[in-house]
Symmetry: C2
Subunit: 149 residues, 2 copies
């Protein structure tokens, strides 16, 4: 039976590091694994990062679902309700990023409460250290603009 | 016989508009069309836009090839040699963007010189007018950063 891997994120400014992380997440599910990605709502991004995303949630979702590695991309819930997500997606594995401590805690809590056979795995960060997060990319863009004009 | 559609671009900051344009390009080839995308070299981007891309050419290429709609992504030639690209890819159709007049001219010249049966089609620009080009996205990022901090 192919395994379902669940992962999540804002995915605002997409870069090659995202592809590598999504591939790494999917690999945890073994052959023929299915990768489901939860896209953070605009309201959730605003609350957590104190600013709105560059791209609206529908476009962020559609872009992630347009990737070969992704089988399905779904919008999250505004209160990041992990129990509802787990019930809906029925994952075998939840893959959390290096900066997703809150999500890991919520996943652990939901799994424990219902005694679910779900494995949590950590996925790493990728590559060029100055281009591995949207915030850093934004800073680089600003710096590039400053030095050019 | 499935048709091969060729298109090209820098694809530095990927957004949903790119997906729509690539889908539009591929649709011109009809059922089972193959979409080949030429990714502009870092040197070409520097020369044309007077600044380097945010992401290096290998990452820009890999990200485009990671899209479901794309069958193959290849790095371009530093002198944007359209005749060589055509010889290599053997497209039935070349799709050019609304801002790709230079590429259209070069394609027309190469097609005429060798009397090739290649059709050139124009593809549109997509959606939200403030988010349909990398330059506009960069400006929005800078504005967002200014108003947040």
């Amino acid at each position: 039976m192919p395994k379902t891997v669940l992962t999540s994120g804002a995915f605002d400014l997409i870069h090659y590091g995202h592809i590598r992380l999504l591939e790494e997440a999917k690999n945890h599910g073994g052959p023929n694994a299915k990768l489901v990605v939860i896209i953070a709502r605009d309201e959730t991004v605003k609350r957590l990062k104190n600013k709105p995303p560059v791209f609206p949630e529908n476009q962020r979702r559609a872009l992630i679902e347009a990737l070969k590695v992704v089988d399905q991309a779904l919008l999250g819930y505004e209160d990041m309700d992990m129990a509802t997500v787990i019930e809906k997606v029925k994952p075998d594995i939840i893959a959390v990023g290096h900066d997703q401590d809150t999500i890991e805690k919520m996943a652990k809590k939901a799994i424990k409460e219902k005694n679910l056979p779900i494995k949590i795995v950590r996925i790493g960060r990728f590559g060029q250290s100055n281009l591995d997060s949207s915030s850093k990319i934004k800073r680089k863009i600003v710096e590039d603009l400053r030095t050019t004009y």
